[in-house]
Amino acid sequence: MKYLLRRLLRAALLLIGVSALCFLFTEMAPGSFFDEMRLNPQISPETVTALRARYGLDQPLIVRYSRWMASVVRGDFGYSIAYNSPVAPLLWTRAKNTLLLTGTATFLVWLIAVPLAAWTAASHGRWLDKAAAVVSSVLISVPEIVIAIALLALAVRTRLVPVGGMRSLGFQEFSTWGQIQDIAQRMVLPTAVLVLSSIAVVERHVRASVLEVLQMPYIQAARGLGISRTRLLFRYALPVAANPAISLFGFSLATLLSGSLLVEVVTGWPGLGPLILDATLSRDLLLVIGGVLLSALFMVAGNFIADVLLLAFDPRIRTGESHAN
């Protein structure tokens, strides 16, 4: 329990840090939405000043931050100036799509990477291991934007999967099953990019930790007792190798979230990515801050889930024997 409390506290501190950081940047920023507005000859300076006062932008930084923090805790992320609507619902509709995408991608990455890593570690030094090493180093080194563009080109050219957006025209008329199918088809491309760009890191880490475990004496003993290779690998080695892998889980979530921003923009998936990019280009700062904070929240939540999983997997943490790091 104490372990979980400590982790929760750390998560909260992390969030406060992120939000404070975001807010500090607003102060350093030269130029704002209203400065752009001021250049517009059709809007009088008085109107701009009045608008500034109305949105509370004439208050000092610390006041604005504490007000904003108080409202964020209540689930209110402020008011988007460009969309002329509250930020929270804007973010939420998009965040669901991002979560759907990154959740699926995370699931697939781990589903593929863990058995593959265990397998390659078990056949250490043989051609399978070497082939996997080559493929993973290629995947690691190719920038995500190139993977995204290449797969997009492939998809547009071959018309294997539909591209752009999340729903086809006439989505409302489809049956429930048809709707699910439609979304699933349109998810193929962004998910594939995300999986390809992040699977190699996971595979490498898990492989390294499985390899380390496989060289331990108890595995040798188990092998000597005639336990089958598969059982040895998945029942005896993997759970012990899980600790560093689970710690990686939180981190891989960060890369996936970062990656999904790019992928969403390139493939036209209506997630947080395009929203934040548009907000950036129109200098809608509260929306940007809200988006970053939300993505940080996902991150922290992911890390916390990893911590809970660690607690479930690693008896050393439950008994408080070793210091979790």
């Binding site: 992390l14 992120v18 130029g31 920038p143 190139v146 960060a254 934040i276 940080a296």
Partner: protein
């Protein structure tokens, strides 16, 4: 192992020399437009015509007819090596107008085709590399400098300094950094001169990434601090600054070198991505990112494969740097054991 590293270093040197001497190698300037030749395909360089083989390669002029380009075979235009053309400067100092190869007008030579404004993709690729690679390398230097300073302070002084610094490092590491990168960019002015944007990009990309090198340097400093020779030097009355400079900093060198090889491709890709989104270096200055941004239109993406060359350049750069990082890493490991 050794030969591999040498080959990689050679490849790296060639890549950077190509880009540095862009002015000499590229036949045209980066923003020279040929509006009558939009999306011209790569020019074919010929050696053979009806009269047989020629040692001097030649091209035919291309003209746009309806929707496709035709080669006009009536007249051959030979390639001139080391011919005079447009004036350029190399690293901003040496002015010259001698190019590696030129073709007498009216035909143009587009080795990698042309973009929508009829600008030579090959020339733009080389000039764009100047911006992309310089951004990656300078941002890496910035990251490493910040990381080294913070990591050294953190590891050397320990206690609450260490705890607060590493706490904020963890904060930076756990952020989805691309969101953060865009957010930071969002708070900075959008419309700037290309030079300002370039410097701004370097600062943003470099400063956000300080945390990882800082953590690594801290680890090295921490272990170096407790070494016997450091204690001995301290016993002889060496000052903090002397200890750091003479005994501790050299220990971090290997880690920093490996980090550099890892960070450069990441930052080149980051610059490319930001420019791709229109948040980086803007037209007409080429960068690998903003050259790719025309591909956001599906018809361009599908029809003009040669516009993918910046992506290929990105891949080549990344692969070389990654392999180098790998080689450095395994070398470092075998040395320290």
């Amino acid at each position: 192992m050794r030969i591999n590293t040498l080959v990689l270093l050679l490849a790296l040197a060639i890549l950077h020399l190509l880009v540095i001497f862009a002015g000499f190698i590229a036949p045209y300037g980066p923003s020279v437009q040929n509006r009558e030749l939009p999306y011209a395909p790569p020019t074919r360089v010929h050696f053979v015509d009806t009269s047989g083989f020629h040692l001097r390669p030649f091209v035919y002029s291309q003209t746009l007819t309806l929707d496709s380009y035709k080669e006009d075979r009536t007249r051959e235009y030979p390639l001139h090596l080391f011919a005079r053309g447009e004036t350029y400067t190399i690293v901003g100092i040496f002015r010259s107008n001698i190019h590696l190869f030129q073709v007498a007008e009216p035909p143009r030579i587009f080795l990698f085709g042309a973009d929508g404004y009829g600008r030579d993709e090959f020339s733009r690729l080389l000039y764009g590399g100047q911006i992309s690679l310089a951004a990656g390398i300078l941002a890496t230097l910035l990251s490493l400098a910040a990381g080294t300073i913070i990591g050294t302070i953190s590891g050397y002084y320990g206690k609450w300094v260490d705890e607060s610094l590493m706490g904020s490092a963890e904060l930076f590491l756990s952020l989805p950094w691309f969101y953060f990168l865009i957010a930071v960019r969002a708070f900075l002015p959008l419309h700037l001169s290309p030079v300002e944007t370039f410097l701004l990009l370097i600062c943003v990309i470099g400063l956000i990434g300080w945390a990882r090198p800082a953590r690594l340097v801290r680890g090295v400093v921490l272990s170096a601090r407790s070494r016997n020779f450091v204690s001995a030097a301290r016993g002889f009355g060496a000052s903090d600054l002397y200890l750091l400079r003479r005994h501790i900093f050299p220990e971090t060198f290997g880690v920093l070198l490996t980090q550099a090889a890892l960070l450069v491709p990441q930052y080149v890709a980051a610059e490319a991505t930001l420019s791709f989104f229109g948040l980086g270096v803007s037209e007409p200055e080429p960068s690998w990112g903003n050259m790719l941004s025309t591909l956001q239109q599906y018809n361009v993406l599908v029809s003009y494969a040669w516009l993918l060359t910046p992506a290929a350049a990105l891949v080549i750069t990344s692969v070389i740097y990654w392999l180098l990082a790998d080689a450095l890493h395994s070398r470092l490991k075998s040395h320290s054991i």
